[in-house]
Structure formats: structure tokens, C-alpha cells
Amino acid sequence: MRHLAWTNLKRHRHSTLIGAVAAGVLIALAYAVGALIDMRPLMHATGSVLEDSRLMPAVMTLAWILLLIFIVAFLIYLNTLLLARRTEELDMYRLLGMPSSRLGGVLIWEALMTGAAALVIGLVGGVLLSKLLAMALVRLMGFQTAVGIQWSPQIAGQLTGLFLLVYLIIGAVNAAFIRTLGHQRGRRAEAQHLPPRLSGWQVVLACAGVILVGWSAIGTGNYFAWVRPVRQLTGLPGWGQLGLLTFCGIAGTYLVFRQSLPAAAFLLARWRVVRRHAKWLLAANTLYRWWRRDHFALWLITLLSTLTIAVLGSAAMLLQLGQREVENSMPLPITTSASNEALVEKKAAGLITRQAQVTTKRMVGKTTLRRQGRDDPTTTLYQVMRLSDYQRIRQWQPNLPALQVAPGQAALVLSDPAFLRRGPAQRLVNAGRQITFPADGRTLLISDLTTAFPLGSAIYFDRGLVVADSDYEEMKGVNDPLAVYWLKETAAGHRVEQQLDDQTQIDYVRYDQAVRKGDKLPTATKDTDDSFSRSGLNVRRPMARAVDTLFGFAVFITLLMGGAVLVATACILLLKQVTHAQGRAPVRRVLWQLGMPTSQLTDVAYVSTFGVYLAPLIFASINAFVIVHFIASATAGQTGGLVLVVWAIYSLIDLAFAWLAAQLTDRYG
């Protein structure tokens, strides 16, 4: 039995190898993640930055469990693929009179042997990978911890037990499956040689697929003016429309692989020009067979790839967003309000290299601004600053734009970029609006708007205002002096920054009915329902580190998951491709016998293989860009360079697999 199992594995060595290697890579990943959780110093280091030492191990454990579930699901799917292509062979064993119990035993042995190979690959690879992963994690999170090779007998034992069990179950299920053989004898072989067809309703479904996918992309992205009214035709609320669009996308993608692509290949093969070039004709035919037969796997792969690219892309975008957020809220080393100056000067005595004061006034202001096509009247708290102070801050804080402010005018600083829309001739829609101050009845003309807060948004209660120096002197508000400190770039300096960061200093100001009306001024107060608050002491470095750590960790986890999905999908495609290539081998042989040059046979293999790999990649890319774009507009992120880099890397890996598959295909026949 063992001998026969071994012979069988050898006979299908390509698919055995692909299956075992893919499982091995995934097990290696599982081992590496498990070993990471076991790395005490690393977990300890993250705990000190993230304030909660349990967060990272908890998230990692969750990721680990998800990974294991994914791997098991993948192995089961892989097994159905491998078994499906062998039904004829197994059927023959049965026909020749091999008892099903014996054949079942062979199948269990095969599964266990494959599992053992996968485990060996996985554990050896995992030990190496764990170091790589730990290094990547340390880099991404900005630590200086040294990491060595991790051998964790406990994790290795757990994984060995788990996966041997999984393979045993797979073997047992296969053994049970062969008892049902014989019912479908011959049907598969027949389907292989059924002539290509295209009926009327297939054309209709093919068109429907393309329309659904297109509408899902256009509708989600809201790219045209007519989209909104069409979306609203359903009468659904916003999330309902989104759900419907998602459904359209998923169902449409299925139809595309089930009907549209085969129909396109069919029509292509019918086209006179193509029929006159055997190379293209045969490639179109191969693709037709592929798409007709494996539409489900391709659809699944497209969905998984969409998810992977979208998640990786969003992670990249959020990383950028996080860094921008730090830049925006704490652009300078230490900023404080007046009440905390003494604290900083005491703690950092002897370490301060530079210090600056900026006076501001707190006032309540009223204005009506336009946002998303609607007028939005707001009364809120403004911190008013002299234009000359603003110019001074610009020297330390290069991200501040030049502002146009004349006497009688004001530049508005707020956080929502939606207020900064530009109309015709690049004019700010909100420029020219008025802002009035109930406390002294003054009115200023808004001349400019920006989202870049001088000294950083963390030191603001809500909005800021930059006015001409002459206006500033006359305005009636509560003085709110702010200070900026630069410390020595030494270990002692960093330590003090860390200590200061641990002090939570919140400032509250009064903001009740009387203040809003201008009868009272927004003076400092204790925490009440009618108050505004801000952080009165902001230290940049620890905050930046925490964000880097957190986002670095998030990126790490998504890369890990993305990598696992990528390996799995590419492997499924590779395996399908090998199966398919074996099926096409007789055709290739006939073509060769008829005198088709080998170079052209190679071309056919490459064109059709890349066609197979590119279709999911293209659709997944379109879908993912729509999703990332959607997330970007919802979070004010930017679909910038990093997203493209992530996508390019993903595509490159995918195409590398395509190349490998093409090589294998070309080898057959």
C-alpha cells in the first residue's frame, strides 16, 4: 500500500510538489508567527511603546488563529482540486477490481506522506522565516532589539499535531469519497470534448456580467454626476446602496468568469483575423476551455486577490495617513499652554536648547461656511493669532502655507479638508465669507483657509484664526499664551520627553450659553458638560514612535495575511494550470506533428497562461482600486505612491507565478 502510494505521488510529481511546497510555505508562515508571539523581548519592547503590553500578543494570536484557519481551508480546497483531476485514474483502479478499502488505505498513506513533506518544509522554512519576520517586524516598528533564530519545540509540536491530523482527515475523506465513484463515470471525459458553444442567453448573461462589474465600480467610486441619482433609484439608504453595489460586483465578477470571458474567447476564435493565425486561434481556444471549466476557482481567486490588494493598499494608505496625522497634530518637539510651562522647565532643566513664546486669544466666532454643497452655520471657539507670529512659526514648521491676510481679513485654520473645495478659477469656495465675534461685535472677511495648524492641531480647542497684527490688538478675548521647547538630542533629552509624555495635562475652557452669546468670555475652567478641551502638553517623539509602532505592526500583520493569501491563490492557479497543461498535452503533440514550430507552441503556452493569470489580476486590481479609493475618500487619505508600490509588488509576484506556470505548461507535450 505504501509502495503504491509512493508511486502515485511520483506519477503526479508536479502537482504533489506544488501542493506540498505551498502547504510548506504556509506552515512556515504559521510557525514563524507562532514563534514571534513567543519572543519575549520583542513583545516586551512593544508593550512599553503601546502602553498596553497585552495588545500585540493578543492581536498576533488572533492573526495566528486566522492564519491557521485559512491554511486548513486552503488545504481542503487544494485536496478537492487534486482529487478531482484523479477521479478517472482512481475510477480505473476500482474498475480493475482493487477493493475500495485498499484504495482508501493508499489514499490515506498518500495524504500522510504529503503532510509529512509539507511539515518538514514548513518547520525548516519556518525557523529561517521566523528570524526574517522578526527582523521585518523590528524594522517596521522602529525598535533596536536584536533577534536570533527561533526554535520553539512547543509551536513545532502543535503545528505537527494539527497538520498531521488535518492530512489524516483529508486522507480519510478521500477514502470515503472513492466509494461514491462510478456514478459519474465518463461524464467528465465527455465534457472535455464538447464543442465550444455560444447561445443567446449566454450572450445576455455575458453582457450582464460586464455591466454589473462596471456599474459596481462606477457606482462605488461615484465618478460621474449621473451616478448618484441612479443609485438613489433603489430607494435604499447609503449603506444599503453600498451593499447592493458590492453584491453587483461579486455576482458580476462571477458572471464575467462564467460567461463573459468564455464568450469573448469564443468570439475571438471565430474572428477571421485570429483564425488565420494558428497561434492566436489556439491561445483563444485554450483560454475558452480554461474559463469555461475553472470559472469558479478563478472567481474565488479574484475575490481573494481583491481583498488582498485592497487590504494591503489600505494599510499602506493608513500608514501614510498616520504619519501625516502626527505631522499635523505635533509638528514641533514640545508645545505647551501657559499652565504647563513651569512643569517643562523644571523637568527639562539644563536640556532646553531653544524656547519660543506665541501669544493667542480665545474668542467665540460665528460663521457660515459651505461644505458638500450645503451652507453650514457654526458657532465655535477660535484661537486667534497675529500674522507676524504665524510668519515666525513658519520658519520652524515648513509645512505651513503662506497666507494672504490684510487688515479686516482673517485666515481660517480648520481640520476638515472638505471646507477647502475650490470652485471656478481655483478660487476657494469659502473665501469671502464673513466671521463675526459676538463678544465685541467685530466682523472679519475670510480671505484664506488652511488645514495646517501653526504649532500643531493638538494645542487647539477647535479652530484657529490668523489676523493682521493691528486687528489682533483690538480684539477682545482671553489671552492664551503658548510655548515651544526644543530639547537636546541626547538620551537624557529623550528620557525627559518620555517622562513629559506620561503626564496627561488637559486644559478646559468654559463654553456655555453665555459664552456663545458673547456675554461672557471663554475662560479656563474645570471639566464640565459645557466645556472645550485640549491637551496642554504635547511631546512629539513618543507620539510619533507609538504611531510608527502601531501602524508598523498593522502593516506587518496585513503583509503577513496578504502573503498567505497570495501564496494560496497563486498555488491554486499553478496547480490548475498544470492539470490543464496535462490535458492539453495531446493537442500540443498533434500540433507539433502537423509542423507547428516549437517556438509558436511556446508562444501559445505563454499567451494562454498569462491570459489565465492576468484576468483575475486585472479584475482584482480594478475592484481593489475602487475600494481603496472609496476608503480614501471616507478617511481623507490619499491613494498615493505607496498604494501603487504595494500593487506593483503584488502584481510582480503574481506574474512571476504566471511565468512559472507558463514554463511548466510549455514542458508538457
Partner: protein, 258 residues
């Protein structure tokens, strides 16, 4: 003029401990314009011989010259060109592509390498008409009877207008009417267009369309019969020789099969 020279051809399949000698020091030659039949018992090596002449199999030792060129000296690309342009092969197992219509199956060899002949449609119409396939051009091979498929295979081999036609039991699945038609078409090609034809057959009636029959047994040359008189006389000669070959009569050489 010699078109085919088979020179001490030996073909051994398998490895050291499991050798099958398919051809055994076989030599003969064929002149341009001949219509030669190859006969012999099942397993005698007829298909192997044809495959080697068509360059889709390679000899173990010995060589094959076609049109003055030694096939063993040609590289892959040259062999592909040779198969494409000089020989038309009607396979024993037909080898039609199930994904292509009958019309595309037939014209396929013309579209491998550009330029595609400008008279491709005329050629298709011509062979389809000759082999009575005109009504079937839009169908797929799986939708045809075996005999119809055999005619498609023949049409595909003939459309390139090859100088040498190799046919491995081309009438195996045809009824006597259709067989006679195909054979008379081959005869016509042979006589009017001077095509050389090598045809493997089991059937003395089919063989009687040839003008020479080479008999092979156990991979070696056994005998040959040349037509001199009427077809009926030739037919009787063939029947006699078949009886000899199956009766285990005299041989010119003893095959060595190790």
C-alpha cells in the same frame, strides 16, 4: 528520381531490460510519383516506419532521406518546416482538434507560419468538395461519424499540397463506397499531380489501388509486389503474399529482436 530512401533503419523502443524492436535493419526506396502500399501483420512496425519518415519519431540507427535530405541531420525548426510543407500525414488515430470546426481543422496547417496562402478559401472549398465535406465544414469533429472524421483528417493532410503523402490506414473506418472515393482521389492526385503516396493498409482491396506493395514482418523487409497488369491480378498477388506472410513462409532475413 528517388524521393524516399530508407537506409538500414532500426528502431528499438524501451530501455536495456525491456526492449521492443519495432524496426529491424529495414532498407528500401521509393521513387517520385509512386503510390506505395505498406502491408504486414499487426505490430510489424508499419506505423513506426511512417512516423519516422514523417520525422515525428526518430530512428535508433540508420537514416531516412527524403528529397535528397537526411532527416537525421535537420534541426527542430527545419523538421517542423519539413512536416509542414513537404509531407501530409493522415494519422491512424486521426488527431483532429475537438475545439476547432472542421473547416479550421482542415486549414490549420496553413496558418502556422505567416504568410497565409491567399487562395486558402479556394483550397478549402476544393478539398471539401473532393472529400464530400462541404456540408460539414461548420461542425465540430465530435459531431461527425468516424468515416467523416477520417475524411477530415485526409483533407487536412492534402490541403498543404505536399509532395509526399503518408497515410496510416486512411480507409480503416470508411464504408467501401467512401473508401473507394478516397482511394480514387488519392490515385488521381498520384497520377495527375505527381504526388508520391505511402499508404499503410491491412486491406488487400485498398492496397490494390497502389502500384507497389512493400511487405514488412517483425520490423524487417519481407517482400514486395509490383503491379504489372490489371488491378484484379494485382489484388490476387497481394492476397497470395498475405497468405505467405501469415503462414510464416520464407523470409529474406531473420529479425533479431533482443
Amino acid at each position: 528520381m528517388r524521393i524516399v530512401t530508407v537506409d538500414h533503419l532500426t528502431k528499438i523502443y524501451g530501455h536495456r531490460f525491456n526492449r521492443v524492436g519495432a524496426l529491424n535493419d529495414l532498407s528500401f526506396h521509393i521513387d517520385a510519383g509512386e503510390f506505395v502500399g505498406i502491408m504486414g501483420p499487426s505490430g510489424a512496425g508499419k506505423s513506426t516506419l511512417l512516423n519516422i519518415i514523417a520525422s515525428i519519431d526518430t530512428p535508433t540507427t540508420g537514416s531516412v532521406w527524403v528529397g535528397g535530405v537526411d532527416l537525421t541531420q535537420l534541426n527542430d525548426a527545419a523538421l517542423a518546416k519539413y512536416r509542414r510543407e513537404q509531407v501530409g500525414f493522415i494519422f491512424q488515430e486521426l488527431n483532429l482538434l475537438s475545439d476547432l470546426t472542421v473547416a479550421t481543422n482542415i486549414t490549420l496547417p496553413l496558418t502556422f507560419v505567416p504568410p497565409v496562402p491567399s487562395d486558402i478559401d479556394a483550397r478549402l472549398a476544393h478539398v471539401a468538395d473532393l472529400l464530400d465535406l462541404t456540408g460539414l465544414l461548420a461542425r465540430y469533429p465530435t459531431e461527425l461519424s468516424l468515416g467523416q472524421r477520417q475524411r477530415v483528417a485526409a483533407a487536412r493532410a492534402l490541403i498543404t499540397q505536399p509532395a509526399l503523402i503518408l497515410a496510416d490506414e486512411p480507409t480503416g473506418s470508411l464504408d467501401s463506397m467512401a473508401a473507394t472515393e478516397l482511394l480514387s482521389y488519392l490515385t488521381k492526385l498520384n497520377l495527375e499531380e505527381d504526388r508520391t503516396i505511402m499508404m499503410v493498409t491491412h486491406d488487400a482491396f485498398t492496397a490494390s489501388f497502389c502500384n507497389r506493395i512493400i511487405f514488412i514482418r517483425d520490423g524487417a523487409y519481407f517482400a514486395e509486389v509490383t503491379r504489372s497488369g490489371s488491378r484484379q491480378a494485382f489484388f490476387d498477388q497481394i492476397i497470395d503474399m498475405e497468405a505467405t506472410i501469415n503462414g510464416g513462409g520464407k523470409r529474406r532475413e531473420t529479425p533479431r529482436v533482443d
